[in-house]
């Protein structure tokens, strides 16, 4: 995957803070896009763009926590950093449990903020990477034939070729051929890698798909 530059999405209803934070982050070398309200952010949101979200908690209309919920429901895993004017413990616990990366109080020092942002961007990149990998595994799985898929299932459950042949009603030689084709299609070198890939794809037990 080509690495798109990560963007920091900033949502705060106070114009002065938006301007100041944008300046700070730009001076630190980041790419920033700011929005005055969660609705404005949602309208323009493209989940494919890598980056993290810096959110003010207390905003009229949809507030920060609710935006977090909306994004989670829509399946977007973009890391969120919360900024708040109050040091509210219950709120911060709630936010962290819902998956926020960090919960910072205003006024926020630049090093603290940047550290959190870098952590968030890193998390975002790794998530994307994982996602991308998973996608490619799934793509490869899709290229397997019905028979090959069956063989894969039996293989990763640890059965010997002989046993697999007996289960599937064919000879060992055929199984060996299928196995080789699966390894090639799945682009793995070792059996352990195949198991891992299958694991990642969610194929763990001998079930009918």
């Amino acid at each position: 995957m080509s690495a798109m530059p990560s963007t920091v999405f900033l949502v705060d209803d106070d114009a002065a803070i938006r301007k100041a934070l944008t300046r700070l982050l730009v001076a630190a070398g980041l790419d920033v896009r700011s929005f005055a309200s969660p609705q404005a952010f949602l309208e323009r949101h493209d989940p494919a763009v890598p980056g993290c979200l810096v959110l003010d908690v207390a905003m009229p209309g949809l507030n920060g926590l609710e935006l977090q919920r909306v994004l989670a429901e829509s399946g977007c895993n973009r890391p969120i950093i919360f900024l708040t004017g109050r040091g509210d413990v219950p709120m911060s616990v709630h936010a962290m449990k819902a998956g926020a990366v960090d919960f910072l109080t205003k006024p926020v020092a630049d090093d603290v903020l940047l550290e959190a942002i870098h952590a968030a961007l890193e998390k975002d990149r790794s998530t994307r990477r994982t996602h991308t990998e998973l996608d490619s595994i799934k793509d490869r799985l899709a290229t397997l034939t019905q028979r090959e898929r069956e063989v894969l299932k039996h293989v990763v459950s640890g059965q010997l070729n002989k046993q697999i042949a007996a289960d599937l009603g064919t000879v060992e030689k055929t199984i060996k051929v299928h196995r080789g084709r699966v390894m090639a299609k799945m682009q793995v070198g070792t059996f352990a890698d195949l198991v891992r890939a299958a694991d990642r794809a969610g194929i763990t037990t001998r079930e009918t798909d």
Binding site: A16, A20, A27, A58, L83, G85, R86, P107
Partner: protein
């Protein structure tokens, strides 16, 4: 029914007895008058001056006239009949000769004209107490009545003596009205009034006067005359005594004295003595009559004038005494100043209050007791009002005799003498120390309520301060990074610094508003824009409203008239209403929470602010107790917010009330009188 008949019978029988008594007394009085008139006629006859037997003074008609003036009109016929009874008998015996009939008719005519005239225009028997009364009496009874009746009476004479008899009748009747009737009437009037205690000295003086007058009269008028054909100068000797009577004893004195003079001089003339016997009998009578008229008229007028003057003085003295009693007895402090601004009078309560002597306070001494902080304002208000000749009211502290200063309210009004001449000021002061204390307590309470309310908003206020601080920090830290770049972007840095300054001001503004609200000041009334107040309040409450997820709808009318009030206190009221509205909506779903602030101009030109929520509304049973002190439906809170809000609004001359909406929730209305910019 039987009761009514019985009671009316009882009333009738009750009324019969006094009616009977009245009839009896009337009859007696009529008989008495008849007797007196008979005597008068006899005396008149006895005093006819030979040879024409002219009577210088005819008593009967004057007596009857006096009676008619003081009795009710419906009884007049009885008195007239009684008065003329004997003459009518005599006339009947003589077969009703025409002259007698004419005299009777003339007499009755004269009586009626004089009596009716004096009753209508000169207050009856009290005529002699006033100058105007005396003049009317002279005009109607002395001149007009005899004048008219003389025309009738003279018809009894032979045609060629008509004018002679006219003159005789006129003068003798006129003299009777001038000397006899006034005496009778004044004594009747005196008997009618309450007797003042007569001092022995007065009595003695009257006695001396009488004796002196009689002695003089007898000497001059009743002794044998000199026969040199001239009226001696001694004839004026009675004058000093008459003057004495007029000045010292008023109308009573002069009328009585004149009667004496008339009686004695006429007696003397009839007996052929005195100064009026030097010429022909007709001339004598005429001179005597003229003499008596000449001294009677001016002296009667003089007596009336003196009497009026005395009465005025008495009324003035009484008024003065009343004033003093009132000012010394009232609980107010009263002062008076002359036209030169210097004070000339302080009542007893004032002197007791300050514990000073009146000499110390007179002039400008009173100002020493005024509290030094109030002195300048006090003197300038006083001076300005004085120069404008307007009433004023001011409050200041005056030193009490125990050394402390107490607040008093001083109201002064200008006074003008007759003719509109400015005569100074009169003022009264009340001790308002208690009222001031209550006001101070109320101010304290309002302040405490405001501070407590701001405490509820404190979280939001902290947030308000936090925003600019955050912006400033991030800007500064951004600038720090940019400064290290090579080359530094000076334009960007300049913008950043400007933003920092702006944000600092923003924070300062929040703090300034907060400080204003926390200050415990006096109410500072000024012309304010209600829309501005509403906007400021919404700014202040903005963060709190946001954190409670309350959406605000602002409907501010344009071109609203200004209102006269204290912006801080009005903000307090609005904050209270907004806080209550938010509390009412805690049970409402967050997306449905809506607060509406609307300003408008009412039909009666009041400016109205409405705070509407969509919460739980106000239950009917609590509606009437909403503004009561210590009434609250909340878990926390004293229940004073609305009470204080209402008292603030009342102090602004406005109204605060609530009503439930047609749909959900309630609305609180605040109406304030508009202010057109003129000083109140």
């Amino acid at each position: 029914m039987a009761n009514n008949v019985l009671s009316s019978m009882a009333n009738a029988s009750e009324a019969v007895v006094p009616r009977l008594a009245r009839a009896v007394s009337l009859t007696l009085r009529v008989l008495l008058v008849g007797l007196i008139c008979f005597l008068g006629t006899e005396i008149g006859f006895a005093h006819k001056v030979p040879p024409h037997n002219i009577s210088p003074l005819w008593p009967t008609v004057a007596i009857l006239f006096s009676v008619l003036v003081v009795t009710p009109v419906r009884h007049w016929w009885a008195y007239v009949m009684a008065g003329y009874f004997t003459s009518l008998i005599n006339d009947a015996r003589a077969g009703f000769p025409l002259p007698s009939i004419l005299f009777v008719i003339a007499g009755v005519l004269e009586l009626l004209v004089a009596a009716v005239g004096v009753r209508l225009f000169a207050e009856g028997p009290r005529a002699f107490l006033r100058l105007r009364g005396v003049m009317v009496y002279l005009g109607i009874a002395v001149i007009l009545a005899p004048f008219l009746s003389a025309f009738v009476a003279a018809c009894a004479a032979q045609p060629d003596h008509y004018w002679f008899y006219w003159r005789v009748w006129f003068f003798s009747e006129a003299l009777a009205y001038l000397t006899l009737a006034p005496a009778i009437l004044t004594w009747i009037a005196l008997a009618g009034r309450a007797w003042k205690p007569v001092f022995f000295a007065n009595f003695l003086e009257a006695g001396v006067l009488c004796c002196g007058l009689i002695a003089v009269m007898i000497t001059v008028f009743c002794s044998t005359a000199a026969s040199d054909g001239r009226v001696p100068a001694l004839v004026y000797l009675p004058l000093p005594f008459l003057l004495w009577a007029a000045v010292r004893f008023g109308p009573v004195g002069i009328n009585t004295a004149l009667l004496l003079v008339a009686f004695l001089s006429i007696s003397g003339a009839v007996a052929g003595r005195g100064p009026f016997v030097v010429s022909s009998p007709d001339e004598n009578v005429l001179s005597l009559q003229l003499f008596l008229i000449a001294i009677a008229v001016p002296l009667m007028l003089l007596a009336a004038v003196i009497r009026e003057g005395r009465e005025k003085t008495m009324i003035l003295a009484e008024s003065e005494a009343r004033f003093r009693t009132m000012t010394d007895g009232a609980p107010m402090l009263v002062w008076m100043a002359d036209a030169d601004k210097r004070c000339s009078y302080f009542n007893k309560p004032w002197l007791e209050f300050t514990g000073r002597k009146v000499e110390q306070e007179l002039g400008e001494g009173w100002a020493e007791g005024v509290h030094p902080e109030d002195l300048r304002r006090c003197l300038s208000t006083y001076g300005a009002a004085f120069d404008a000749r307007e009433r004023f009211q001011m409050e200041y502290r005056l030193r009490h005799r125990d050394g402390t200063y107490r607040w008093i309210v001083d109201c002064g009004v200008p006074r003008f003498s007759e003719g509109g001449v400015f005569a100074g000021y009169i003022g009264s002061c009340m001790d308002i120390a208690d009222r001031k204390q209550v006001e101070e307590q109320r101010r304290e309470l309002t302040h405490l309520a405001r501070v407590a309310m701001l405490g509820e908003f404190s979280g939001a206020l902290a947030h308000e301060l936090n925003q600019p601080l955050t912006a400033i920090l991030s800007n500064a830290q951004a600038a720090r990074r940019l400064v290290t770049k090579e080359p530094p972007d000076l334009a960007e840095l300049k913008t950043i610094l400007q933003d920092i300054v702006d944000e600092d001001k923003r924070a300062g503004e929040v703090l300034r508003r907060l400080r204003l609200l926390l200050k415990k000041g006096e109410m500072a009334f000024d012309a304010i824009d209600v829309n501005q107040v509403a906007t400021d309040v919404l700014d202040l409450a903005h963060a709190d409203l946001a954190s409670r997820c309350v959406a605000v709808n602002c409907q501010l009318a344009s071109a609203l008239p200004m209102v006269r009030g204290d912006p801080v206190q009005l903000q307090q009221v609005l904050l209270n209403l907004i806080g209550n509205a938010c509390d009412a909506m805690t049970a409402t779903e967050t997306t449905m929470r809506r607060l509406t602030i609307a300003t408008q101009r009412n039909e009666d030109s009041m400016v109205q602010i409405a705070v509407t929520d969509c919460g739980v509304g106000i239950p009917e049973e609590t509606m009437s107790r909403l503004f009561d002190a210590f009434f609250t439906t909340k878990q926390q809170g004293l229940g004073l917010g609305l009470t204080i809000s209402r008292s603030i609004v009342s102090a602004h001359g406005g109204r605060l009330w609530a009503s439930n909406n047609a749909g959900r929730g309630a609305t609180f209305f605040l109406a304030l009188p508009s202010y057109n910019g003129e000083p109140s």
